[in-house]
Amino acid sequence: MDTEITIANLSKRYGKTIALDGVSLHIKSGLYGLLGQNGAGKTTLMRILATLLPKSEGSVSVGGFDISQAKDIRRIIGYLPQEFSFYPSLRVREALDYLGLLSGMSNDERKTRIPDVLRCVNLYEDRNKRVKALSGGMKRRLGIAQAILHDPRILIVGEPTAGLDPVERIHFREMLAALAEGRTVIFSTHIIEDIEKTCGRLAVLNRGALVFNGELADFIGSEDSMEAAYIRAIGEA
């Protein structure tokens, strides 16, 4: 089962603005951090991987499929965008049922899989609550539930811990680490601590360019802290 992502010389331009500039990455199974400030190009990269944005140049392969094979890629990825919500009047289980249906899952598959994923994200007890009654953290967990519902090989998650309280953030990081067993999870964030605590490997983007790609230990190197290493990497004092 191919869970690898290969990106070569990927560029994305919006008119004169360069959002990604010749990015090359090879991402293997496990939890992979994508670190960068706001506007670094993380969201653009994730949306290209999720087939929601066309690239300007370069080549991308997701799970063995070329990026032009959008339908095949959508079948094997789970995507949690940075900004999302659900129809507020739906119940938690109904929201998942609808999204599962759109992922091509059969009635039987949905019937067995929805309780499983709700347990996995600790929302089973809240399955009959309406989405509008959920807290921010619960909505994020529901977001993860919809992303893993069809058991994807590759999970692309954007800023999942933004706005969460410290306890929720710890739970979330643990959950992502558990989900990375046997699949590739790309975890995009601008929160350095989240990467430090969870990811063995990471890529750092700055103004659309890749400034680091490798092991976390190599990234920190001789610096005192992750923050210092990050500042060094993006070249700002």
């Binding site: 959508r74 995507y79 919500s85 249906l101």
Partner: protein, 406 residues
């Protein structure tokens, strides 16, 4: 129930009766002439005082979109109208007015036969010459006036005969099996509701994705764009048709009971048939417009666009109704048939009606297919009209603020 021959009263029908049509048309024309002249010149025409302004404004006619309008004429046009009246009656407009006891408020076209001035206004020409003169009057006014040849029928009525009334009854009972006649009448009114309201369903359905911030979650699923759009399109169409269908169950049940009680065979599927063949194509087309414009722009722009189109169609088809009293709407989006009965008219126009309905059904399906293509492009980030608008607006704000700062 069949008409009772013993009553001797079978209602009235519009008809061309030269001895009534000609004086009535001349009386109305003289009245409109005097009002318009009085209004235009304010020349002290005494009888005009106390007449409401809205009828002083000129000759009543209908615009192409079916709106009532009042036309005022040039001095040449006015003088030509006076000449035409004189040629037909040998009288001036003032003399015509005197002979019918002064000015009266010109009635809407469909009620003009209520006045009868036959014998009170002399007519010096035959009906052929009269229609020729009226054609000229219609031209001077600008068309679509009460004097257009096909509307002259509205200036007179005659008593309907028992045979006519019985034929009408037979048409409803035998040809239409009662319910078909009433289903058309029902669909005529429902068509107006559907044309104006059903656009809200697809637009609100599609905009809910953006409002609920679901768009990216939906776009990243593996479902095909064709399936995704087609199912939602079918759901919107069903939602528009469902209330019309449910309401029609009431008259259907009543007619079935009534038919059973009187031993008259009714068609229990008439309402469903007309809803599917008469209303559905309009719903398909409107839903198609809603889908296309909403998916393309991610804004509710389809609502004003469609309401404008529907309004124009309702008004336009109203003109067709006026033209032949039982019009079937030409090529308009909205078909109207405001009669109980009229089976023969429907049959005579069946090919045209069918072509009209097929056109709009095909248009609706075509727009839906176009929406699939646009959604597929949008899903891949190749189209983002709203994003571009916002980007341009943001850039404009930035450049405005930099100009202000300088």
């Amino acid at each position: 129930m069949p008409p009772d021959e013993r009553t001797g009263d079978f209602g009235r029908v519009n008809a061309v009766i030269p001895e009534k049509t000609m004086p009535n048309a001349c009386a109305t024309l003289a009245t409109e002439y005097l009002y318009e002249r009085g209004n235009s010149f304010a020349d002290g025409y005494s009888d005009i005082s106390g007449v409401p302004n809205y009828i002083r404004q000129g000759y009543m006619s209908y615009s192409e979109l079916g709106f009532i309008q009042r036309k005022t004429l040039s001095p040449e046009g006015r003088s030509e109208i006076a000449d035409i009246l004189y040629r037909i009656t040998g009288l001036t407009a003032e003399e015509i007015s005197s002979s019918i006891n002064g000015l009266y408020e010109p009635l809407p076209f469909e009620y003009r036969s209520e006045n009868d001035y036959s014998g009170r206004i002399p007519v010096l020409v035959d009906y052929g010459t009269f229609t020729k003169e009226m054609r000229r009057v219609d031209q001077i006014i600008g068309g679509n006036s009460a004097y257009a040849e096909k509307k002259l029928i509205l200036f007179a009525t005659r008593e309907a005969t028992y045979e006519e009334k019985y034929a009408e009854y037979e048409g409803v009972v035998k040809d239409d099996m009662v319910t078909n006649a009433y289903a058309r009448y029902y669909c005529d009114y429902m068509m107006i509701m559907v044309a104006l309201l059903c656009i809200f369903i697809p637009v609100s359905l599609l905009l809910r994705d953006r409002r609920a911030r679901m768009s990216e979650l939906l776009a990243s699923r593996s479902v095909g764009s064709a399936q995704f759009i087609a199912v939602r399109y079918a759901a919107s169409v069903t939602m528009a048709l469902l209330p019309v269908f449910l309401i029609s169950l009431i008259p259907t049940a009543e007619f079935i009971v009534w038919g059973g009680r009187h031993g008259i065979r009714v068609d229990p599927f008439a309402f469903i048939k007309y809803e599917a063949l008469w209303l559905l194509p309009t719903i398909l087309a409107i839903t198609g417009v809603g889908f296309l414009l909403t998916v393309l722009t991610d804004t509710p722009v389809a609502i004003p666009v469609q309401i404008a189109w529907s309004w124009i169609a309702i008004m336009g088809t109203g003109m067709a109704l006026m033209d032949i009293q039982s019009g079937v709407g030409g090529w308009w989006l909205v078909l109207r048939f405001n009669l109980v009965g009229g089976h023969d008219t429907i049959m005579a126009n069946a090919t045209h009606i069918l072509a009209n309905r097929v056109l709009y059904a095909a248009l609706g399906i075509g727009l839906m297919l176009l929406t699939v293509a646009i959604y597929e492009m949008r899903r891949k980030g190749r189209i983002d009209v709203l994003g571009k608008i916002r980007f341009a607006a943001a850039n404009r704000k930035i450049s405005d603020s930099s100009v202000a700062a300088e």
